[in-house]
């Protein structure tokens, strides 16, 4: 509890692990909190991995294991725990798990990803573990030489249907769209069409699951005609998209979209300072391992520059008894360079009650934005942490006045 982490990452999928690699390599004291005992997120639950750049031959679990190893190499710490509550006010933030453990950190990356969406049809919950499944690698073994139904038509659904043909005798994919139309990318569609074991039922959705103790029948509904038909099968795999894991953010100021995704800009900043979002949990269009890893890297780098700026400001401006002259400048702005030189020549620090702090507005966006600095050069006078005076484009006389 006494330890304060520089960077605490919630979620150990590709986004979280990539953030951890960047964070700990930059010497931030970094912790990954993961609710499951195994790292890797969704990637631990499927097999094929063909599109991670630079890694030609690998499997999904293999790839994400090397993410973990990479983070460990740079000294990332790992802990098990499901995060349930966050206190994000203030510089030191508190993270609480379901079991009651507490962790403290100066910056946080939210990388909790997404979990499978439930269909909500009759029998779905009742037959869980009895033939209704959301994890092909977990349950494929049961269906050797049997007939399974896959509900869904996105990338995951089609990929998993193809995987299941290695076990099952027959795989029937239930597609809600009209014939020939699927959400999955073309490559997967072509592979599915070419696979002898795969059949399609179009314009349809799963209405009910029936059976005596185990799954025996999928009741399908044609969405065009309203007609229902019964299909004998031994298992039903449901892959109809995912929902973001953000329930634990409800009582915080981290803003979510209507669908529950975290709103963040391209710097991965959320609506709370020092809190970043990365990976599938963030509102965005492309949700892949490589984009999750990219998000994670950006989030860690932004967290690091936040920490530097915030700690520098606290130590040099807020925590001093002296009057602080803060000069905002920008290396591309000649006038601000001249002013900076003039201020330096004043020798402000000869007065032991005064101190000069220079802020490059280009590098330190955090403080620049916090104090609404829109022009350079600008000089702020700060006493006991409060702004007492502000001069934009100071004249020589105004500068001389700083020595009063």
């Amino acid at each position: 509890m006494s330890e304060v982490y520089d960077l605490l990452i919630v979620g150990g999928g590709p986004a979280g692990l990539s953030s951890a690699i960047y964070g700990s390599r930059s010497k931030l004291k970094t912790l990954v909190l993961e609710s499951k005992s195994k790292m890797g997120g969704q990637v631990a639950d499927y097999h094929e991995m063909e599109n991670y750049p630079g890694v030609v031959e690998t499997t999904a679990p293999e790839l994400v294991e090397s993410f973990e190893e990479h983070a460990k190499k740079f000294g990332t710490e790992f802990a098990k725990g499901e995060v349930q509550e966050l206190e994000l006010d203030g510089f030191i933030k508190t993270v609480k798990t379901k079991k009651g453990e507490e962790y403290q950190a100066k910056s946080i990356v939210l990388a909790t990803g997404a979990e499978p969406r439930k269909l909500g049809c009759e029998g779905e919950a009742e037959f869980k573990g009895k033939g209704v499944s959301y994890c092909a690698t977990c349950d494929a073994d049961f269906f050797e030489d049997l007939h399974v139904v896959v509900v869904g038509n996105g990338n995951s659904a089609i990929e998993e249907a193809i995987y299941l043909t290695k076990f099952a005798a027959k795989v029937t994919i239930i597609v809600i769209h009209e014939e020939g139309k699927m959400d999955a990318e073309k490559l997967f569609q072509e592979r599915a069409y070419a696979n002898d074991k795969i059949e399609f039922v179009w314009n349809s959705t799963l209405k009910e699951v029936k059976g005596e103790g185990i799954v025996e029948t999928a009741v399908l509904k044609n969405v065009k005609t309203g007609e229902t038909t019964e299909l004998d099968c031994d298992g039903i795999f449901i892959f109809i998209g995912r929902v973001p894991s953000t329930d634990f953010l409800e009582d915080t100021n981290v803003q979510l979209t209507e669908g529950g995704y975290i709103k963040a800009d391209e710097d991965m900043k959320t609506t709370v300072p020092g809190v970043y979002a990365a990976g599938d949990v963030r509102e965005k269009v492309v949700r892949q391992v490589v984009t999750a890893a990219g998000d994670g890297a950006t989030a860690a780098v932004m967290a690091q520059s936040y920490l530097e700026a915030e700690e520098h400001w606290r130590d040099n401006v807020l925590k001093t008894d002296k009057q602080v002259v803060v000069a905002f400048w920008n290396p591309t702005q000649d006038e601000s360079l001249n002013t900076l030189q003039d201020i330096e020549e004043l020798g402000i620090e000869a007065d032991e009650n005064k101190k000069l702090v220079k802020i490059d507005t280009y590098r330190n966006r955090l403080i620049t934005n916090r104090y609404n600095i829109t022009k350079v050069p600008t000089v702020l006078i700060i006493e006991s942490g409060e702004e007492v005076e502000r001069v934009e484009n100071p004249t020589e006389e105004e500068l001389a006045g700083l020595l009063k």
Binding site: K38, G129, V132, D141, G213
Partner: protein, 106 residues
């Protein structure tokens, strides 16, 4: 925990008095591997009141299916050889298992 297979399943589970808890699992099921240590903890704690056993479905698929287990992880409870409860799903929590166990132990 006792390892079950088709040779000892009937004897250890279906012909056994009292409460028997069977953890159905496999190597390729990550949620199962996560849950196992938690079930082992329960086995230590409740070992004198109930029998705890595990069944790897690899090679025992038919046996599992006969018990109407077609998804992992699955925890099935038997009372005097009769199937009493079946918990399943990757969101299965050790606390759920303990609660069901206490219910059955009365």
């Amino acid at each position: 925990m006792l390892e079950l297979n088709k040779d000892n399943f009937d004897n250890e589970v279906l012909e056994s008095d009292g409460v028997v808890v069977v953890d159905f699992w496999s190597e390729s099921c990550d949620p199962c591997l996560e849950l196992m240590p938690e079930v082992e903890k329960l086995a230590e704690e409740y070992g004198d009141k109930a029998k705890f056993a595990k069944l790897n479905i690899k090679g025992n698929r038919r046996l599992a299916m006969k018990q109407q287990v077609m998804g992992l992880p699955s925890i099935v409870f038997y009372v005097d050889g009769e199937k009493a409860e079946h918990l399943s799903g990757d969101d299965l929590e050790p606390a759920d298992i303990e609660a069901t166990l206490n219910e059955l132990l009365g």
